[in-house]
């Protein structure tokens, strides 16, 4: 069921390249909004900054309206300038969970008065004793070099300016995989768009809200206000989960290319989770199961307890090297995830959501 005119790789790569560090997601949201406008009735941003696209469902006369929210966070990890040090070098702190050990030699953009390209540096290795070289590489030991003198740096950069990873996405192994920054969670946003594009040719009874949430990486904050504001009857969060890579135990990871990952556990409404499995099976979509014993650390955690509680599920895309400039995923997994959500949207009826409160 290919969707004409919608190419997930182009959408994903454009989203990945856009800047959207937590708290300043505007540029990435502009890209997403442009696409959502093509497939939904109206698009708005709420007071907190979340992007909310609405598409009305078609119900038989007299049936009560109900709604499904599909949410993916659009913010990315990054950093913030904390000091303009002697020589014009910039000290910084992390926004979201970044691994300092992946930053040495990394290209970055400092969003000063104009975007400034730079490099993350540390004490030169030839000056370090071997013992010193093996010590922990903490953020305090790193700085950013933007090739400016101290006076120039003070002119161009202010403490508090945001820093993003400077890495264009790249397609791998033909066009099977894609790697780049911010795939966590532009992949989720691309899945929502895939779903919206699929629904161009499908009927659905539920009113649909496609939500690109902000500030997930610093504590699921956008999801808190979006869930309250939209107040959907059902919600599915779409995020990334750890992909299989050497040295990782099988039970902690999921294979790339083997389909979207459906979570089960206390964060997930059992009937909604079960519905997703059943749909994947009946439409012969590949899928994997992820048992999560508690907090899923995704927007699903915030949605579940909004207002009087929202039946919530979580669909994830397996991804390797999370929170680095080279987050890597398989494009087929994104397409299948989008299709799964489209089938869910199509299948929902009043009876199903009314039955959700009967455990």
């Amino acid at each position: 069921m290919p969707v004409s005119g919608f190419k997930i790789k182009d959408v994903l790569m454009e989203l990945s390249a856009a800047t959207g560090v937590s708290g300043d997601e505007g540029a990435a949201i502009d890209v997403a909004a442009r696409y959502f406008r093509q497939y939904t009735d109206r698009v708005k941003r709420d007071r907190f900054g979340n992007l909310i696209a609405f598409k009305e469902g078609k119900l038989p006369a007299g049936e009560p309206r109900f709604s499904l929210a599909l949410a993916a966070h659009i913010d990315e990890i990054g950093a913030m300038v904390t000091q303009i040090a002697r020589g014009g070098f910039l000290r910084f702190t992390a926004i979201g969970g970044i691994d300092p050990r992946t930053l040495l030699g990394q290209a970055v953009v400092v969003h000063g008065r104009t975007p400034l390209k730079g490099v993350v540096g540390a004490l030169a290795p030839h000056l370090l004793a071997e013992r010193e070289r093996r010590k922990e590489l903490t953020l305090e030991k790193l700085y950013i070099d933007v090739g400016l003198s101290e006076a120039e740096a003070r002119e161009q950069v202010r403490v508090g300016d945001l820093i993003s990873l400077d890495q264009e996405p790249v397609l791998l192994n033909g066009e099977k995989c894609c790697a780049g920054k911010a795939m966590d969670n532009r992949a989720g946003v691309a899945v929502l768009l895939q779903c919206a594009a699929e629904l161009a040719s499908m009927q659905h009874r539920a009113d649909l809200y496609f939500i690109a949430t902000v500030q997930e990486e610093v504590g699921l904050r956008g999801a808190v206000t979006a869930a309250y504001g939209v107040s959907p009857d059902l919600a599915v969060a779409v995020d990334v989960t750890h992909g299989a890579a050497p040295g990782l135990p099988d039970h902690e990871v999921h294979s790339l290319g083997k389909g979207p990952v459906i979570a089960i556990g206390p964060n997930i409404h059992p009937a909604l989770g079960e519905k997703l499995h059943a749909l994947a099976q009946s439409y012969r979509l590949p899928y994997q199961i992820e048992p999560v014993a508690g907090n899923t650390h995704t927007d699903a955690w915030a949605f579940q307890v909004s207002r009087e509680g929202i039946p919530t599920a979580l669909v994830s895309v397996p991804l390797r090297y999370m929170h680095t400039a080279v987050e890597l995923l398989n494009l087929d997994d994104l397409i299948a995830a989008g299709q799964l959500l489209a089938f869910l949207s199509r299948s929902l009826d009043g009876a199903f959501w009314e039955g959700l409160s009967c455990y």
Partner: protein
């Protein structure tokens, strides 16, 4: 910019062909004689041989990685070629093999590491190249054992007059050497673009044997540590202060007469220069100085931050001043 074109090419030690070809193309139409020797050096003569016979040298190769195993999962294990600080590798983009297959350097996601492991810098054994292959068979269709990998980095101007890019060590030297060979005011010298400097100046050994110069000037790129946390006394070199003259390193004690000449040349021409205030590290000078019955040898370097990493930084004015100093020194020798 010549530097950017040269730096963007892959040329890990032993695989310098693309760089050599680019240099040969850049010299088309110049009044020079060129030949490639058995190890891959490009030997160039401009104008009639003079006495003393002067040889300039810059190395074409860069540090990089070599694929040594293809895992069942399709991931590639690798070894460094030349001196790479393993701490710069995690989460960087690479290109593998002659077909420049894109890949990334992966490690276990930080979320899935134990607290103790998070405190340790990544070592080569913790890392692998991921080309998006779903298994060994898919990987083998794209790459093979022995393929080189280079950082997938495009040289970019940054800040006020700086460049960011890979392999400036020593494509910066190659760019200077090319500029001098194309300069119509200069003639009567030999130039060699050497291979395999990073694994022990292998090319310089055969090149200096072949050319048997009386005097050699090595045009290099050297580490600058004019950065936070390093005391001024330990910076070795500073960006923006002009070419660095070596006095001594692990491989050579620079010929006093040539060093004195270079200093005098810079002073007479009003060119900036600095001394390389560090005695570690080595260059082709070590091999060249011991060629035949010995060659008077000196080293002039463009200072560069973060050498041997995916993104080094140099200042364009230093590169130009390096070229100007070598040119003035060559002209001085003609007087």
């Amino acid at each position: 910019m010549l530097l950017a074109e040269l730096a963007n090419l892959p040329g890990v030690s032993g695989g310098e062909k693309r760089v050599r070809q680019a240099i040969v193309e850049a010299l088309a139409g110049c009044p020079v004689e060129m030949r490639t020797d058995n190890i891959g050096n490009l030997l160039v003569r401009k104008g009639p041989r003079r006495s003393p016979h002067v040889m300039l040298a810059a190395h074409m190769d860069e540090v990089g990685l070599m694929v040594v195993a293809i895992e069942k999962s399709g991931h590639l294990k690798f070894k460094p070629v030349g001196g790479i600080d393993s701490r710069v590798l995690a989460a960087k983009r690479v290109r593998v093999g002659a077909a420049a297959v894109p890949g990334v350097i992966g490690a276990k996601a930080v979320h899935l590491q134990k607290d103790d492991d998070r405190k340790k810098p990544y070592e080569i054994e913790d890392l692998f190249i991921d080309i998006g292959a779903a298994g060994k068979e898919e990987a083998e269709a794209l790459v093979k054992i022995g393929d080189y990998a280079t950082f997938d980095t495009a040289a970019t101007p940054i800040g006020s007059g700086f460049w960011r890019g890979k392999a400036f060590d020593d494509r910066a030297g190659c760019a200077v050497l090319l500029q001098l060979l194309r300069d119509p005011e200069l003639t009567g010298f030999s130039a060699v673009f050497t291979v395999q400097e990073e694994i022990g100046s292998r090319g310089a050994i055969t090149a200096s044997y072949a050319l048997q110069p009386d005097r050699a000037l090595i045009i290099e790129t050297t580490a600058a540590a004019d950065t936070p946390g390093t005391g001024e006394d330990f910076s070795s070199t500073v960006l923006g202060a002009g070419p660095a003259l070596s006095v001594m390193d692990r491989s050579v004690i620079v010929d006093r007469e040539m060093l004195t000449e270079l200093i005098a040349t810079a002073r007479e021409a009003g060119l900036p220069f600095q001394f390389r205030r560090f005695t570690g590290g080595g260059t082709d000078a070590g091999a060249v100085a011991l060629a035949g019955e010995g060659v008077k040898t000196a080293v002039v370097s463009t200072p560069c931050r973060y050498i041997h990493s995916p993104h080094s930084i140099l200042k364009e004015s230093d590169l130009q001043a390096t070229a100007a100093l070598v040119k003035a020194w060559l002209l001085r020798g003609e007087r």
